[in-house]
């Protein structure tokens, strides 16, 4: 218990870092996006902004909440978010994983302040080996709530800069201080939850291939999004890079091999972790976005 599984940590947490930001973390990833010094966590306030205020050091130093933004960011977007990391897979060595999350995002705007509500529509893990695949059960997806996080925009040379500051998320466990409390390692710890309702502690991820089984994990992740919207008027698209990191504890597995502690690291090439938002009509559901994925985000 309390060990890292051999290949799925960043894989799992990477996705959640991108999508579920609101908590605390310890494993550092690529972070060359300016996010200032780590300040107070958001804590998941009603509108996603919590106690944040203009000038808070979570935000880029030149951001000004009072600046006029003659563009409409509000609306519904389909989002494809890719996070890249490497894991030390037993018998194979370093394997690159690309975690692909397809999301439905609703953005509310108040001047330069945005609030993002993110609903995860699908999660996939792609890698450069077919020997082992990671599967996120639908129950896992269903257990993930709509996540609210703040973001900001400011004029840039050819459009607008989009910035979502570092925020944290913990999954499968209830922590008083989601950013700083150590993750429990005892599956019987009363703080550990069973969000996917499968009677196993934490969240369940499934592995298939030459090694198969279930892994029961809790995790803490963080992410920062820094991108660009090239248009004015009604914004149609936003794209940029994601910086992220994670921490995860394996509470158990039905295959001992999957409990073995392994190392992994976030892809050092920052450009390999990125996001794209495409505006869609407000009536588009998650199912619609999944069905129209190739049209929205051509392979």
């Amino acid at each position: 218990m309390g060990r890292r599984p051999f290949f799925s940590l960043q894989l799992l947490t990477g996705i959640l870092c991108l999508l579920l930001s609101a908590g605390g973390c310890s494993q550092e990833g690529v972070d060359d996006i300016p996010d200032g010094d780590a300040g107070e966590p958001d804590g998941g306030g009603v509108d996603g902004w919590g106690d944040l205020a203009p000038g808070d050091d979570l935000w880029p130093g030149d951001w000004n909440a009072d600046v006029d933004i003659p563009a409409d960011f509000s609306g519904t977007y389909a989002s494809l978010q890719i996070s890249s990391h490497y894991s030390d897979v037993p018998m194979i060595g370093d394997v690159q994983y690309r975690n692909v999350a397809l999301c439905r995002i609703s953005i509310a705007q108040q001047g330069a302040q945005l609030t993002l509500d993110t609903e995860i529509c699908s999660l996939e893990s792609e890698s450069d080996t077919d020997l082992v695949q990671t599967v996120f059960p639908d129950a896992f997806l269903r257990s993930l709530p709509v996540i609210r996080r703040p973001a900001a925009v400011m004029p840039a040379a050819d459009g607008y800069r989009f910035f979502a500051p570092r925020s944290y998320e913990v999954r499968g466990v209830e922590l008083a201080d989601p950013e700083r409390d150590p993750l429990p390692t005892d599956p019987d710890d009363p703080r550990i939850q069973d969000p996917d309702g499968d009677n196993n502690p934490g969240l369940t991820v499934r592995i298939t291939g030459i090694v198969d089984g279930e892994v029961y994990v809790i995790q803490r992740t963080w992410s920062v999004m820094d991108g660009h919207a090239p248009q004015t008027g009604e914004i149609q698209s936003i794209s940029g890079l994601i910086a992220w990191g994670d921490e995860q504890v394996v509470l158990g597995s039905d295959n001992p091999v999957l409990e073995s502690p392994r190392e992994g690291y976030i892809d050092p090439v920052a450009e390999n972790s990125h996001f794209d938002f495409k505006r869609v009509s407000a009536g588009k559901s998650c199912a619609d976005i999944v069905a129209e994925r190739d049209g929205l985000f051509p392979p």
């Binding site: 037993p90 018998m91 194979i92 599967v135 059960p137 499934r206 298939t208 279930e214 091999v257």
Partner: protein, 489 residues
């Protein structure tokens, strides 16, 4: 010749590597004595060096000499598999399945069948027919005339010196030949055999004999390093092989209570060649269990298992006028097949039965000519295979016809022996039953898809890749013809 003959026999044993297999014991027990005019009645009427194996008590009834022979063997075997009912195939959905337990929880697959379209051999594609040639060589040496004799007998195949083809008798065979096999034939009739026996006559009416068949116990350890699991075709391998000789004894007794009447008894102890091994596997960057630095894959094979056998028989030799004589004999052979271990050293889950084989032999002789007719019936020790195992075996009835000519030659005598035989394997039908003690089981139990959590439709109902399901029938013929030439002095 006595002492030099004995030394020569030992020389042959050493040079031919007598410590190898005793695979041909199965051949002898199936086809009888290939160098004799009495293939099936060799335990009571045997002639020639093969008596060293069948009944060493008869060695003193043989004239000293050398005998060389060859036999052709044809296994004409047939297994017919019943068509599989619809819906029992295992589909590719098995790769993304977790078993749905009665309490709603899920668990990893316990048994892992392959999808039907991923089986590398189509069901029933293996053909059990075979044709082979074997040569026999033997010698009888009189150490003390009419009192003590030494016999040597060997069988050598013309193809592989020894070999074994293992297979599983149940659903596990889907990964390999995906076919059924005749458990007591096929590779059991290959291989070589070396036998040495000594016979004595302590009383005028009593002959005693004892012999050994050489078997071996092999141990194989392969140390394997796989540098890249993604490239399983590349591995560095070292092997440590040791082969140890083992002697399996057998005994024979002949009593002559009345002139011309011989009562015989034999006892052959269990014989088999074992191969035990370990694959000591190292995988690059692998999380070994605590205290281990490799993964051990063990295996245990048994080749040419023959159970404890005991026989009782009687023969009578009568003289006739004008140089005409006759003989007739019968024997029963009890075999403790209930202790059978298959090629994987596993005992059948549905225990086999001991069986009693009955042999009859008769001959007419005139001058230097002998004509013999034998018969044998061997009931199958294998129960109806209604469960998951598919040991194929049949009741067997055989007849053998032998002719022998023994003209004088120089200071001694030539012995030319020809023999033909046929055995019929009676048709046997097997129907699998869910009431069997160890029934065919559902290899793809009700399962959920690992992502959606929904029940996999292909897992509903009963699925199996057991090649013997839902039933099969078997039959066949065994044919053999042999010719041998001996010089007796």
């Amino acid at each position: 010749m006595s002492r030099s003959g004995a030394g020569w026999i030992v020389f042959v044993l050493v040079v031919t590597g007598g410590g190898f297999t005793a695979g041909a014991v199965g051949l002898l027990e199936t086809f009888g004595a290939p160098d004799s005019r009495h293939p099936f009645a060799a335990r009571v009427l045997g002639d020639g060096p093969s008596a060293a194996y069948f009944n060493p008590g008869l060695l003193l009834f043989q004239e000293p000499g050398l005998r060389l022979g060859a036999s052709a063997i044809w296994q004409d075997l047939d297994v017919e598999l019943q068509n599989r009912p619809p819906g029992v195939d295992v589909t590719g959905a098995i790769y993304r399945a977790r078993i749905l337990n009665p309490d709603g929880s899920t668990s990893r697959l316990v048994f892992r069948p392959l999808p039907n379209d991923r089986l590398r051999a189509s069901r029933g594609s293996y053909g059990p027919d075979s044709f082979s040639l074997v040569v026999q060589f033997g010698a009888n040496v009189s150490l003390i005339e009419n009192r003590l004799a030494l016999g040597f007998y060997s069988v050598l195949p013309t193809s592989a010196f020894g070999g074994q083809t293992t297979f599983f008798p149940d659903e596990r065979e889907q990964y390999f030949s995906n076919s059924l096999h005749f458990e007591l034939f096929e590779d059991r009739l290959d291989g070589s055999m070396f036998c040495l026996a000594l016979a004595g006559r302590p009383l005028d009416w009593l002959w005693l004999g004892a012999g050994v068949v050489m078997t071996n116990v092999s141990e194989v350890t392969s140390s394997i390093f796989v540098p890249d699991a993604a490239d399983q075709e590349t591995a560095d391998i070292n092997t440590d092989i040791s082969i140890n000789m083992r002697f399996e004894p057998h005994f024979g007794v002949v009593v002559e209570p009345l002139e011309g009447l011989l009562v015989t008894g034999t006892l052959h102890l269990e014989a088999r060649n074992d191969v035990d091994g370990t694959g000591d596997i190292q995988l690059w960057d692998y999380p070994y269990p605590e205290g281990q630095d490799s993964l051990d894959q063990t295996f245990a094979f048994s080749q040419g298992y023959n159970p404890l056998r005991a026989s009782l028989g009687a023969a009578y030799r009568g003289g006739g006028g004008g140089g005409l004589s006759w003989a007739a004999g019968a024997s029963v052979l009890w075999s403790r097949w209930s202790e059978y271990r298959d090629r994987h050293q596993q005992r059948p889950a549905d225990a086999w039965s001991d069986n009693w084989a009955v042999s009859l032999g008769s001959e007419i002789s005139w001058g230097s000519q002998h004509v013999a007719l034998d018969a044998i019936f061997v009931p199958s020790p294998v129960p109806d295979q209604e469960g998951r195992s598919n040991y194929v075996d049949n009741h067997r009835l055989g007849f053998g016809l032998g002719w022998q000519w023994r003209p004088e030659f120089g200071a001694g005598r030539l012995t030319l022996t020809a023999q033909v035989q046929m055995q019929h394997l009676f048709d046997r039908k097997v129907q699998k039953s869910d009431r069997a003690a160890h029934p065919v089981f559902d290899e793809f139990p009700e399962s959920i898809e690992i992502q959606t959590g929904e029940v996999i439709a292909d897992s509903l109902g009963f699925q199996t890749n057991n090649p013997g399901y839902p039933g099969f029938s078997s039959r066949g013929w065994l044919w053999a013809a042999g010719l041998s030439l001996a010089y007796n002095y």
